[in-house]
């Protein structure tokens, strides 16, 4: 029998507001434990939540960009459960009237994915276990950090579709400026709901929910693993149990956390501390009108304005921070194609080697622009420039100072090149003879010898020309 996998996603995205959802504490990542807290976010007796208008604005912007209907009168509800990272013993969320519903996302290849709903909620704190004292400590810095949860319809059939959706979602939210979507810092987290059914069937099978997925790779592997596990169960005549499963990255497998029978009753009810949120049509029009230029529009503009190939524009606009970086480098005078080549090559390679996203890039646009200018002026050759790039990337170091300190500036004096060519010919008469006998490879060898003498600082074009000239002279 052939099986079809059916997947729905619940994605939690941290909004990049400066302050928390219900108080004015900072949302800055990190910080010494319990230093980004106040009576409100630590649930002190008598403290009350007040909605941060910026959170509402960001959630509505996201809802509009995902093609959702915005709920004109939405409301917050309490989700009640006991856990030490949740100081009020309830999470303020939206169950009955979420801020946005019924959206659609185009994930390419003619496929669209339905958005069931998008709602606002607060993050919980973090528990830190100290193995030395065998104590668990609570850090409430993250309590009250604003999140939106985006729930899709069960419209995915493959891991590839899921990843395409997440990339599209990340790009959209980054361009809107509502989230940086950094998976390593947990500002984009995914729960995957998955079931399998015989191909052609229209009924949904029993689903499991996988949590703890914190990279695209983990999501992709977990989907493959879980889909296979369920198919094997069904083929053996067993049944799938509706349960929550945890993805273990190290073991490459999912494990049962709790089954539906043990599911908690969250006793949701409207939060009496927060009045309903009412939005006017004017407010929605204003946010729609203020929507920034998104990835597709930028791609189109880069092709038109800079004459870049479509391939380049797609790569560059894949992350907003990368695209912003590109524009800044070009604004500083770098030719667009040069900037694009550097970004698609060295920059992406450096980021990936460090496991960084473009938003974390230590290198400033000015540094890359300077590097490109030095190459254009003939003062650095392209290969040396790559060495300099690697050296200054992490500290955003001073390119000119580094070049001077290491004596990397390209040799401009033609007589030095001539002298090196003379010496190479004198030292390698056999290669000269080989070339003359028709062995083209010897040419490269001679150029290499010249470059070695000049410690790679010569302009390769100039060296090529000088070698060829000498070969034709004699």
């Amino acid at each position: 029998m052939t099986w079809e996998t059916v997947i729905g996603l619940e994605t939690h995205v941290e909004l990049s507001t400066a302050t928390k959802i219900f108080c004015s504490c900072t949302t800055a990542f990190g910080g010494a434990p319990n230093t980004h807290c106040c009576p409100v976010c630590t649930g002190m007796p008598g403290a009350l939540p007040v909605l941060n208008e910026k959170v509402l604005e960001f959630a509505v912007k996201a809802g509009l960009a995902l093609g959702c209907e915005i709920t004109k009168k939405s409301r917050f509800d309490r989700k009640n459960y006991f856990y030490p990272d949740l100081p009020k013993a309830y999470q303020i969320s939206q169950l009955y009237l979420p801020i946005a519903r019924n959206g659609r996302v185009d994930i390419g290849g003619g496929k669209t994915v339905g958005i069931h709903e998008l709602h606002m909620e607060e993050d919980a704190g973090k528990l830190v276990h100290d193995p030395w004292t065998d104590q668990t400590c609570c850090d409430y810095n993250r309590c009250g950090v604003p999140l939106i949860e985006i729930v899709t319809e069960p419209d995915f059939r493959t891991a590839e579709e899921v990843i395409a959706y997440l990339e599209q979602l990340r790009s959209t939210l980054q361009y809107l400026g509502v989230s940086d979507c950094k998976m390593q810092e947990g500002s984009l987290r995914c729960d995957v709901n998955l079931s399998v059914r015989p191909a052609g069937s229209t009924e949904l099978g029993t689903r499991t929910e996988m949590k703890n997925l914190n990279s695209f790779k983990a999501i992709s592997r977990a989907i493959q693993y879980e889909s296979r596990r369920q198919i094997e169960l069904l083929e053996e005549g067993k049944r799938v149990v509706q349960e929550t499963r945890r993805w273990d990255e190290n073991k490459d497998a999912t494990y049962a956390m709790r089954s539906k029978e043990n599911a908690q009753d969250y006793r949701y009810f409207p939060d009496p501390d927060l009045p309903p949120v009412e939005l006017s049509q004017e407010y929605l029009y204003r946010l729609l009108a203020a929507q920034p230029e998104m990835a597709p529009a930028r791609m189109e503009r880069y092709q038109r304005q800079f004459g870049l190939p479509a391939y380049d524009t797609e790569m560059i606009t894949s992350q907003k921070a990368l695209s912003d970086f590109f524009e800044a480098v070009v604004d500083l005078g770098a030719p667009a194609k040069q900037a694009s080549n550097w970004i698609m090559g060295e920059v992406l390679r450096a980021l990936s080697a460090r496991g960084m996203e473009a938003a974390d890039m230590p290198l400033s646009p000015a540094t890359l622009a300077r590097l490109i200018a030095l190459v254009a002026e003939g003062r650095l050759n392209r290969n040396t420039a790559v060495t300099v790039f690697e050296a200054v990337f992490d500290s955003d170091g001073d390119v000119d100072a580094y070049v001077a300190e290491h004596g990397l500036e390209q040799i401009q004096d033609g007589s030095l090149v001539e002298a090196a060519v003379d010496k190479a010919f004198a030292d390698n008469p056999k290669s000269v003879a080989d070339y003359r006998a028709g062995k083209e490879k010897a040419f490269g060898f001679l150029v290499g010898q010249v470059m070695r003498q000049l410690k790679g600082k010569a302009d390769p074009k100039a060296v090529n020309e000088a070698v060829r000239r000498k070969l034709t002279e004699q």
Binding site: G43, M44, P45, F269
Partner: protein
Amino acid sequence: MKELLELSALELGAAIRAGDVSIAEATQTALDAMAEREPSLNCFITAAGEQAMARAQALQAGVKEAKSPLYGVPMAIKDNICTKGVKTCCASKILGDFAPPYDAAVTERMAEAGAVSLGKLNMDEFAMGSTTETSFYGPTRNPWDTSRVPGGSSGGAAAAVAARACWFALGSDTGGSIRQPASFCGVTGIKPTYGSVSRYGLIAYASSLDQIGPLARTAADCAAVLDAIQGRDRRDATSLDVPAGSLLSRLTGDIRGMKIGLPSQCFGEGLEPQVADAVKATAAVLEARGARVETFSFPLMKYMVPTYYIIACAEASSNLSRYDGVKYGWRAPEYEDLTDLYCRTRTEGFGSEVKRRILLGTFVLSSGYYDAYYKKALQVKALIKEAFDRAFEQYDLLLTPVSPTTAPKLGESLSEALKMYLSDIYTVPANLAGLPALSMPCGFDGGVPIGAQLIGPALGEAAVLNAAHAFQLDTDYHRRSPYGKEVK
């Protein structure tokens, strides 16, 4: 200086500003009265005499520039209202010696007005009760008869004002917790319109019903306190943009032409005849001052108590979940794991009335019961609001009893929880509809006070207080002291 004790808060404030009495003198007089009467009454959980005297000395220097009519007047605060650095424990074991790191909005506003706080007042645990007997710190007794309860949950507040241990107090009212003890202790208390006083720093019992208000000797005193504490506070999202500070100046005593309705359903079965007579006599006094009084039919009365207990307990079950022994307050000394820590802390830390209400609330919010109970109660609440809206199309105010009886003896109520709940029938409607409602002394039965309630439309505090003021101009129930002194 015992005469000082018989002054109203406004009279004392005037004497302080005129230089006839020093703030320290007034404070010391109150502390002396407290020292004498507290052992038999137990009004306070935390008395702060030393801090009060220090503050009195400090305030004296500014007396000439004082703007508030309450400047320098000693008062006290119910123990569920946060006071920075001063123990605030809701009369519960589970909060231990918790001292909040911040002041409630009303605490700040009283400090700005220049009031002197004498300490924190006893109450039913987490404001759940009608007798102040559920306090972990022992019951408060009624100054008129110490074998009786002072009412609740603001029993410490009502008893302290009646016992002249302070000139006014801040209480809170979720289903009658200001008005019913005011009635039992012969003082005047008002629950203002929901949202007109910030709840920031009020430890929640039922968030959609809780409201802070004053208990004092007179309606005019209450007006002065509301002038100081009402008004928008951006830290409470349910707070209203009320034009604050004009109630006292609008107390004319002129109620000619005012239309007052007596809901017939509030004078039926279960009401003690002495109470009914006293409230009807109140209507006669108001009529004599020019008001027009008539009886009308007010439906839905039988749904009031069930609706109230479903909503209040549901919200309480969630509001009180944070007391888990993890972050502050009391923690069970021995436990095996996290679940055991929660169970033991909450089992041993909460009293039985609080646990009963948490269980009720948890039940009505449970999956499968939400629609039948909680959702339905919210629908009934909306109907109750509409019924009041219709009543206020015809009448400026409503007049009802506060409680079906006068203060019961200690120990009589707790054994019969349902009976105790049912006695809230006259007070809970104003909470469900968010309306201002006042209790004022209107008679005595067997030496203990009887109260009458005036209910106004939303933000109708001025009319409510003015009618009470008019009544107090022609009567002296509010001036009687449990210690036999009647001044003027």
